[in-house]
Symmetry: C2
Subunit: 343 residues, 2 copies
DNA sequence: ATCACGCGCTAAAACGTTTGTTTACAACAA
DNA sequence: TTGTTGTAAACAAACGTTTTAGCGCGTGAT
């Protein structure tokens, strides 16, 4: 009644030994139907919940897995979390989420916590400037880890990501095919490989088509920053008629910026997003974008981490899913001579 | 080198006892500077991370607190998480998040996991139809808990919420003052007290001003559903000239629906949102809304749960923060005779 | 020389489980 | 009787920490 009920409490009340109660709870060993019933009943009466710490310490097992990322407040990531969490729970695991906000020191503490509590596995979007030491930590503690989106340059982990270069190449081709010749890249901040890969796809097509020097513009990945960045970009480069974006959130921000300037995305300036979040479809105008399915990505992550847990010695694998072009209304043929944006 | 380093590993390598290493790691006891240095060094060399399970089992302490909610993919909630997490980490705690998607059974499993791992505390947005048993569980295990937004009718927990009734009353008054006489309430689904309170504020003002029967329209709290719900609402009630919404996400969806119909929020139909998420300000047109500060709300939650952890016998307290009306562009005087929506 | 005391460290007992081994008991065969 | 077999339940040793009590030793006071 007072204090947490433990195995001993249940055992005493049911008139059996602790070991018996444990076996009943876990469904192991040979237990007569009669005592099984009795134990189960008293456990329920006492609101008994097994102490996972003791259990996992003794058994060396743990059903809790961790997810560490850089930005929980991002609809794309939220969808990924949903997908991963759904699949994991269907397999009897539990997913708990930690948000480091791209702060390497914070990430370090969080990963130490995951290690310290002996999580069964880790799904990890490494923060910017993740030091080698953090990877080493994971390695020495043999925590089954799968990185997502971002690689780490130091250690070999399983990885699930997106075919970034191909995707932005496709996006850029789409714009070039429509007749655009001054195409810029907008979004993300330096030092992240995801962004570098995307910029590479964009640059490659520019070079292949002889479309002049790349214009790359930074912006944090939130809508408000996207609005500001787009405004500045157009001011600095009024000749630009089309934009490839690092993500839908920024792309929608950019589209919003156009609207605020009295312009229309797809008419005055073409925009291609990346991710295909829910908002992309219902934005005004609806956003042309490179679609990946974040929910499915989450499920894939879950499957990979489970396999790694089950067989720690498997060779490390990388899965890169493609993105497909979804043409909506923010892309169209250029309608004005270059440089005459406000003419 | 092989296998996880433990206290014993460090102790052996440093040539001291386990107890000494423990004291060095925790900064307790009297330890000479010399051995302190030596122990710290070998611990670092070995990438030693203390086993939180053993530590918390022995000491009865735990620095990890849990957050269980119904929808992680909601910008309002995401901001709350940020606020709570920031404050908690500054106090040496860690916040791990579990999303039950408003499924009571799933919530039950997650809360059992929190109890089982002896989390230090719990910040909880109870799922719809949370059964009494779940509250009982929390009570018998004495897990320091603060509920957020939604109450539970069964047990007494600390609570942090919003002055919902006053807020929607204020919103409705604002619309009535502008001259609207047919005002509807849009958003949320039944059985959640937050929504009931908000509807009550709306209804109360309607009654006080003699403004005819309430029109209450359901909608899940995502943008896409908001678009659909608004469209249906206008079809069923073309006389409506103003809407009070259950949240900004739905409100922005509603505004989007108007745009798609060739109408303008604030001109053809007035809309008041709730929450003041980042998108409210940059929406087109910018959204009039009842503003609460989710980040601050998160910090408040963190402070409450910490106090409860420190003093489990404090009387239970409820904090209700006010929402303030922020007038932007989606509200204005009615411009058309009732019932002539598409005239 | 004896005593008391502070210092730096260690031994050992918990914390609540799981699990391999052992015991108790009964039934049955030789 | 004794021995064998089988079943149901209990014992006891871990898991990796924290923490209390106490040990040996040098130092200064008596």
């Amino acid at each position: 009644m007072v204090g947490k009920p433990k195995l001993e409490t249940v055992a005493k009340q049911a008139g059996v030994s602790v070991a018996t109660v444990s076996q009943v709870m876990r469904g192991t060993g040979r237990i007569s139907e009669q005592t099984r019933k009795k134990v189960l009943q008293t456990a329920k009466n006492l609101n008994y919940v097994p102490d996972g710490r003791a259990a996992s310490m003794r058994s060396g097992q743990n059903r809790e897995i961790g997810l560490a990322l850089h930005q929980i407040a991002n609809p794309f990531n939220a969808e990924v979390i949903s997908g991963a969490s759904d699949l994991l729970e269907s397999e009897g695991y539990l997913l708990s989420v930690l948000d480091a906000r791209d702060d390497a020191a914070r990430q370090r503490r969080q990963i130490e916590a995951f290690i310290g509590s002996s999580r069964a596995g880790l799904i990890w979007v490494p923060a910017q400037d993740t030091p080698e030491a953090t990877c080493e930590l994971l390695k020495t503690h043999k925590l089954p880890t799968v990185t997502f989106l971002r690689h780490t340059s130091f250690a070999e982990f399983d990885h699930v990501g997106i075919q970034n270069t191909d995707a932005t190449a496709r996006a850029t081709e789409h714009l070039a095919d429509l007749g655009h010749s001054r195409i810029a890249f907008l979004g993300g901040t330096a030092r992240v490989d995801v962004r570098n890969e995307r910029i590479e796809g964009y640059t490659r097509v520019l070079a292949a088509r002889g479309l002049g020097p790349p214009i790359v513009w930074e912006s944090p990945d939130d809508k408000l920053s996207g609005v500001a960045a787009m405004t500045n970009l157009l001011e600095a480069h009024p000749e630009v008629t089309a934009i490839v974006c690092n993500g839908d959130v920024v792309a929608i921000g950019a589209s919003l910026a156009l609207t605020k300037l009295g312009l229309t995305a797809g008419l005055d300036v073409s925009i291609v997003g990346f991710d295909d979040i829910q908002d992309a479809e219902i934005a005004i105008p609806p956003l042309t974008t490179m679609a990946v399915s974040p929910y499915e990505l989450g499920r894939k992550l879950a499957r990979v981490v489970i396999e790694r847990i089950k067989d720690p010695d498997m060779p490390v694998a990388t899965t890169l899913v493609p993105a497909r072009l979804v043409v909506r209304n923010t892309t169209g043929a250029p309608t004005r001579p270059q440089g005459a944006l406000f003419g």
